[in-house]
Symmetry: C2
Subunit: 592 residues, 2 copies
């Protein structure tokens, strides 16, 4: 049964699937031939994976439910109170060096391939997404500062973050500017000493306040007065909760204050805050890089974060799937179709075809999502360590895939969680079981880091048309390689779907009106996402070849499910797009 | 804004839409020409609708959030504690006579048409489904006892229920028998005095324990030892929480005890219980009707309950839709496509095409669901008061539509709530707004009163093939009447879909293997549901004709949305069914 707080490893995530994806499909071992990863081997990768599994299962999963039932609150002393297990788990995580897995040797990191690092981190997202979010934000923050920050900022903030002493956030949204960052009003005024006085209010800041570690490093988008209007006038600042002295010791408390905690449907273990910067004159901030380039720097982090959101959604979907398979094997109810003997014993519900449908759907979504997330991570590794041409190509393909890597799992692995509840019946609706929490936690993912609607506009409005349509072309070339290597029902179906994608994209952008082209961008995103995941299923089958065994047969049947039940859903979506449907455009909203 | 606990009427439900459906579409005024409803008029109907709206808005909506945040618990004295607003609201509801709206004059009821009664009750489901569930269970219980119980049982239990003094439950499920009632183990042994000693455990009993009113009347399925195995050996009993003396006064506490409260994802205002009958020797029970006919009696109530579940799902979807329209008009964010001026003010998000899509989808689901629920209620009225032929036909059509009336709204109006959260963005994910609760409350509906999987088996395995296929034939004839009266794009699309439905049903049952026929019954249910709702949209357009005004234009655009975006989804589902896809049947579950 799956009701205990202690969740065994085989209900958290599948090590076998991760190993398949890493070694048999993405061939990460070959990365050890590259200079950056030359200290690594299959053995070191395995060790990281095993360590991650153990720590996630032993230190993260057990308090997942407790953190949900005891959400952060502001204590009498004004400090944010979390359950103690959060800090305990993070200490183990940091002490094991997992916080710095993907970072350079020179920064105390393990210099792991991104693919291996993301696979290892998926254990934590599956075990306890609320607690895992704290180090994940820190990793994203550190990554950005390493790329764009000065050496001083790296020394003062990144090193303590990678030691697990400081935590990081990203402060983009404001109460009046969420999806539309052009309208942020937070100001940063140069103070004559090279620092800035930052004033403004930031909304939805995850990890924005807590007593974990020693300090919180906020990365804050703000406008320097006199700069350009809109997004071109946005700059990026480090604004620490507590100022850091030149010797690295902690100084005074900065002018950053908690206004309130947001109380959410799920994801309750992670504090989410409304923060006031500069209520008492101005919070001290340090400019990152050059003025007015803040949004482009932040997008570096945001693109990583979007893939991270997709991986998080996948991880929650995956653990829900594993829970529901276990439940369906265990729970006896009903008889097979046609068995009219009232004295016959009940059968496990996994014997019922509709339960099988719900399990296969989940499997096809969550393993598809994991393949997508790790494929994108592998592109990051290629971008960083590949030959110039391959690196450029990988980076470009990654750009195209990013909105899908964010939106697809956050839609379909959420649907997986919905199905996991349904498989559990009434039990799944209770908080005695884990699956309802997975759904509630996962429901955030279609919203944050750019709503899925924003991802649709990004894919259709920017990514596929980038460089005169080279974005789509590159995607299609890559998919076609797989199709050409295979044959039969699935390859044929995928080729037809890709042809439609190309034709529809041509129709949309060929008619000359951007508003019409983008009117159904969500349908475009969904359809393209399904085409991409169908391709990744076919490519997994290519890697499997004629290998035998239950694991491979499981892949085969999930692929069959995806091609039979899922890919055909793109037909009506492509029809709608091809017809340049104007229902939403023509709408007189006063009739609603 | 929609964050306040006090929800204005126009965010709860649409009186205008209800009036349209009742008077302009279903012509309930014509029912006043029938004997049973001859005391009624448009004025009395309107008065009931207005009273319902007022009480729902004033007494039910304001504590919806509070009841969610303060779920029932067992106090130190072992009694179940609810927030006091629940009893206060129910007192107003009962005092207004709404508990007995549909019941006979002779029982103190208003003898309202079911259609009007269900429309009036929808206000309460939309305003506060947790509190509304208590009287709804009571109404279902009373309805069953009036039909099958003795006069003594009616006097002792129904009259106090219709006065609002007693509450009712239905006790079907057990921990090991939920979807499969054949396996219940609760026993009822005749005690020599005509009463029975009932022993067993019942699970998921909504309203199973509380201190509301004076007594709780449990309707309990149990087996009399020596009876037939399986469902043919199930009998039905009245088992009151407190025994009732011959003079109607309350006697001793019966042997019915609360084992525990279930703690759910949503629907928290309604207690949901595990009950032990006969822990101390046997709970006194009174047989309803004849032995071994309990399940058929219960199905009378269950069929009503299924339509009620659909209406409840619709009501939650409807209020979420209204909340999200209001939010989308109010919330400014972003600029129109193509407007590159960073100094331009932000526009209301309702101007963005993807937000419009999410609003139109919701509108098409919730108004479609409401039309479906009220159409079925109108069939009930026809069944009760129509001429013999029409009554038979109505009853038969109602049988066919019942699984759809339950499953379709519980799937699509839940999806509406999902979209309502998405329209609200991050705010919708917080408990400061109402929409996340609507989703959590609504998530129960695909599960209870027969999971949607069960509904699929019922529709395809029983209903459409009833009387040699007369079930489907009757549905198709009825839909075709509407198609024949209309013409153009929608009529053509619907005719084609109906043709496919007929062809696919023939293929499924023509191949001779029930297991194969039923392998994809959920796809069949979904596709048929979409065909039915498309028909109800077309039929609403038929009723509208060329009437002018924003309200009618709203109906037209929602119908357009449904025909353009929704009905085409049935194509791949019909394909799957026509191919007799065996993916789920062929599955070797050891590979999962």
């Amino acid at each position: 049964m799956s009701s205990a707080a202690d969740v065994p490893a085989h209900l958290v995530l599948s090590r076998r699937d991760l190993e398949f994806l890493l070694y048999e499909w993405l061939d990460v071992e070959s990365l050890t031939e590259r200079k950056r990863f030359s200290d690594h081997s299959r053995e070191t990768f395995d060790a990281v994976m095993e360590l991650s599994e153990q720590i996630a299962v032993k230190h993260f999963a057990p308090h997942n439910k407790k953190a949900d039932a005891n959400e952060p609150h502001v204590g009498e002393d004004g400090k944010v109170v979390l359950i103690p297990e959060v800090e305990q788990a993070l200490t183990v995580f940091n002490d094991a060096g997992l916080i710095s897995g993907q970072f350079d040797d020179s920064l105390g990191g393990m210099q792991l391939p991104t693919t291996v690092s993301k696979a290892s981190l998926a254990w934590f997202q599956a075990a306890n997404t609320g607690t895992a979010t704290y180090p994940f934000l820190t990793i994203g923050n550190a990554n950005l500062l390493i790329e764009y920050g000065s050496e001083d900022l790296v020394d003062a903030y990144v090193r303590p973050m990678l030691e697990g002493r400081f935590h990081g956030t990203m402060c983009l949204s404001e109460p009046g500017a969420g999806s539309s960052l052009a309208y942020i009003t937070t100001k940063a005024v140069e103070q004559g000493d090279g620092t800035y006085a930052v004033t403004g209010t930031k909304m939805w800041i995850s990890g924005g306040e807590h007593e974990l570690g020693e300090n919180i490093v906020h990365l804050v988008l703000a406008k320097i007065p006199g700069g350009p209007a809109g997004v071109k006038g946005i700059s990026l600042f480090v604004v620490p909760k507590t100022l850091v002295n030149a010797d690295g010791s902690l100084g005074e408390r900065n002018d950053v204050n908690l206004v309130g905690l947001n109380h959410k449907m799920g994801y309750r273990g992670t504090t989410n805050t409304l923060l006031a910067f500069g209520e008492n004159g101005g919070a001290t901030g340090y400019l990152v890089g050059e003025p007015h380039k803040g949004l482009s720097y932040m997008f570096k982090m945001m693109n990583e974060a979007r893939i991270g959101v997709g991986m998080g959604a996948t991880a929650l979907g995956y653990t829900g799937y594993l829970h529901s398979v276990a439940y369906a094997r265990d729970r006896a109810q009903g008889r097979p179709v046609g068995d009219k003997d009232p004295a016959a014993p009940q059968v496990p519900i996994i014997d019922h075809s509709d339960v099988r449908r719900m399990l296969l759907a989940q499997k096809s979504y969550v393993e598809g999502g994991l393949a997508l997330g790790l494929y994108c991570s592998r592109l990051v590794d290629e971008q960083i360590t590949g030959e110039q041409d391959a690196a450029d190509r990988a980076g470009f393909l990654l750009d195209v895939l990013t909105p899908i890597a964010k939106a697809w799992p956050s839609q379909w692995c959420l649907e997986a969680n919905n199905l996991a509840i349904q498989v559990h019946g009434g039990y799944g609706y209770t908080r005695d079981y884990n699956v309802e929490q997975f759904y509630r936690d996962n429901r955030l993912n279609p919203i944050h880091e750019g709503t899925n609607g924003i991802q649709g506009l990004d894919l259709l409005g920017r990514k596929v048309v980038a460089q005169g349509g080279r974005g789509l072309q590159l995607l299609v070339e890559t998919i076609t390689e797989t199709i050409d290597a295979m044959s039969g029902e699935y390859a044929d179906a995928l080729r037809a779907a890709v042809d439609r994608l190309v034709a529809v994209t041509g129709t949309l952008w060929g008619q000359g009106d951007a508003e019409v082209a983008l009117a159904n961008s969500s349908a475009y995103l969904e359809a393209t996402g399904h085409v991409v995941v169908a391709w990744l299923w076919l490519d997994q089958l290519r890697a499997i070849g004629d290998k035998e065994g239950a694991f491979y047969d499981g892949k085969r049947v999930a692929a069959r499910y995806f091609f039979r039940y899922e890919l055909p859903k793109t037909g009506p979506q492509f029809d709608l797009l091809e017809n340049l449907d104007r229902t939403t455009l023509d709408l007189d909203t006063s009739v609603l």
